[in-house]
């Protein structure tokens, strides 16, 4: 309860400033400003050197052929990134699909519903710890849980052992000659996406919590005082107001997921892949075999960072330039995704002012 009646009495007796020269505080302030300026220019310069050197190497190799053809282990001139680009697109799309709704829902629970008890404090504390776990650990987790599914399925699996059933998958497809949804999932797109989802969930949850906490309580109270239920208040006031902050977290998380290599190598994403997930390498392929859309998440795959890593390891000199071209494409896709997220964020923050 603040008293809103400040009475600015003009200070008639204020002493007139006599010295106008530079004082000791000025020098410090100047030094600090230039130190900060130096820090930002250092970062920008590093980024500039990186971009220029990579782009220089990529020139001449980055062409339509590179973007539209599959990999080649023998001929650098024929090597392309299509399987990596499509693999990354599938993995990231599924990762967003899993991680964003679960992460935002978890943040809403923690901020709006959870009471302040021991369990919830334990959860909150460990979210921060989870965000710091090395990604390779998530790779091992994903390998056990999603790729092998604890060894439950298959001819040697526990389910077979105890019941005699032999579960190998769902939806037999004549076109692919295999189950559309195999059990266990194996080294496929969805295993990678679920693993990356686990990896970025803590980041999304923490960022969403921050965003929800930043909503002024007055907005909540105004909505509740009008007879809105808690759910209506969250749905119509708090979530829309929190979208910009949540999107910032999602941008950071997706940027991290798109560049992750280690957990996917752990899962067994392959390096030389000569097909797209579900063989969907063009729109006509989708039209001919729509079941491929179900098959694709359950197909083996590679992603761009793994391809780049693999090219760098190749003995042939030309693969270095191929890798540079790959990096440029990876950065371009990253920028594209981030731009999209910023667009969504700005659309929502248009009306916000308090």
């Amino acid at each position: 309860m603040t008293d809103e009646n400040p009475s600015p009495v003009p200070e008639a007796s204020m002493p007139v400033v006599k010295r106008l020269g530079r004082e000791s505080g000025k020098a410090e302030s100047w030094l600090f400003a230039w130190t900060c300026r130096g820090a930002i220019w250092f970062s920008v310069a590093i980024l500039g050197v990186l971009l220029i050197s990579v782009t220089k190497n990529a020139v001449g190799w980055l062409d339509w052929q590179f973007l539209s053809s599959f990999d080649s282990s023998r001929f650098p001139a024929k090597a392309g990134m299509l399987s990596g680009i499509l693999g990354t697109c599938w993995v990231i799309a599924l990762t967003i699909l899993f991680a964003v709704p679960i992460g935002v829902a978890a943040a809403i629970y923690l901020e709006e519903y959870a009471t302040d008890n021991l369990l919830n404090r334990f959860i909150r504390l460990n979210l921060a710890n989870l965000a710091g776990v090395p990604s390779i650990v998530y790779g091992i987790l994903g390998l056990t849980v999603f790729v092998r599914m604890f060894g439950l399925f298959g001819p040697q699996g526990w389910i077979h052992e105890f019941t005699g059933w032999n579960l190998e998958g769902f939806f037999w497809s004549e076109h692919y000659g295999q189950y559309l949804i195999p059990l266990p999932f194996g080294r496929v797109v969805i295993s990678g996406a679920l693993t990356l989802s686990l990896l970025i969930l803590p980041v999304i949850i923490i960022a969403s919590q921050e965003a929800l906490r930043a909503i002024p309580p007055s907005l909540r109270h105004a909505s509740l005082a009008l007879g809105a239920t808690k759910w209506q208040t969250i749905r119509f006031q708090i979530l829309p107001a929190a979208v910009p902050g949540i999107m910032t977290g999602v941008i950071l998380a997706i940027s991290r997921a798109i560049g992750e290599t280690a957990p996917l190598v752990m899962l067994g994403a392959m390096s030389f892949v000569f097909f797209a997930p579900g063989n969907l390498d063009s729109l006509s392929a989708v039209a001919e075999h729509p079941e491929g859309l179900i098959k694709a998440p359950f197909d083996t795959f590679t992603v761009m960072p793994i391809q780049i890593f693999n090219w760098v390891r190749q003995p042939k000199e030309e693969f270095k330039y191929i890798a540079a071209a790959g990096i440029v494409v990876l950065l371009a896709i990253l920028l594209l995704l981030n731009g999209l997220a910023i667009l969504i964020r700005n659309r929502y923050s248009k009306h916000m002012r308090w």
């Binding site: 309860m1 105004a222 509740l224 005082a225 007879g227 809105a228």
Partner: protein, 276 residues
Amino acid sequence: MANTAASFSGLVKRSTEGGEALKEPRKTMIESKSLCFYYGQNQALFDISLVIPERSVTAFIGPSGCGKSTFLRTLNRMNDIIEGVRRSGEILLEGQDINAPEVDVVALRKRVGMVFQKSTPFPKSIFDNVAYGPRIGGLRDREKLAHIVESSLKRAALWKEVQHRLHDSAMALSGGQQQRLCIARALATDPEVLLMDEPASALDPASTARIEDLIFELKEKYTIVIVTHNMQQAARVSDFTAFFLKGILIEIGDTEQIFTNPREKQTQDYITGRFG
């Protein structure tokens, strides 16, 4: 102060001996029966008993932290959303205990609207702000919504200023307009009681005057309870005034009596500006 209920001029069922009888008998809208309220270990309200008559303006005055806002918020159970609060005693709205288990707090808040100190328009259009209450109540009919928005804005004396820009952002309105928008928004759910927590304290004198005029008009139809720091404002707009000090209801009575002839010395001291 010995017996708060007895120092209540004429609003209690038995008449007071001083001859300050109520000008006209009014139906009781809200009745508080020995209400105590605690924030954790701190007791914020001590045994508050009072009656708020319908279609009148009742002002709560008192220094900061005296519990008047806390008491106001118990009237539509806005304190429920704070963790670790406790309460004893009863609040009756037209004879019904609002804290009874069968009472739906959402329905209660539709009957007892609230306007806050800081105007809090939603970051939406003016129309959507006013239509928010009816919409969350399930009203979808565009024509009815438009009618409610228009009549609410008219009642809040804002219609003339905004009728041509209903779909502009409410954030673009001036402070006084925003506060009247919040009043219109509260009126749109068709409440019976309107709680106002220092509605004009952040506004300039001209906007304050408009809000006060508005309160004067609104009491024809609504029961208004207003918390204010501004004693001139309490004297101008209210029919009844209650003085709170340190969580205790010191005195309640006709505004005229409180300001000209207070029964308690503490009231006298506060009104004459000796403290607070």
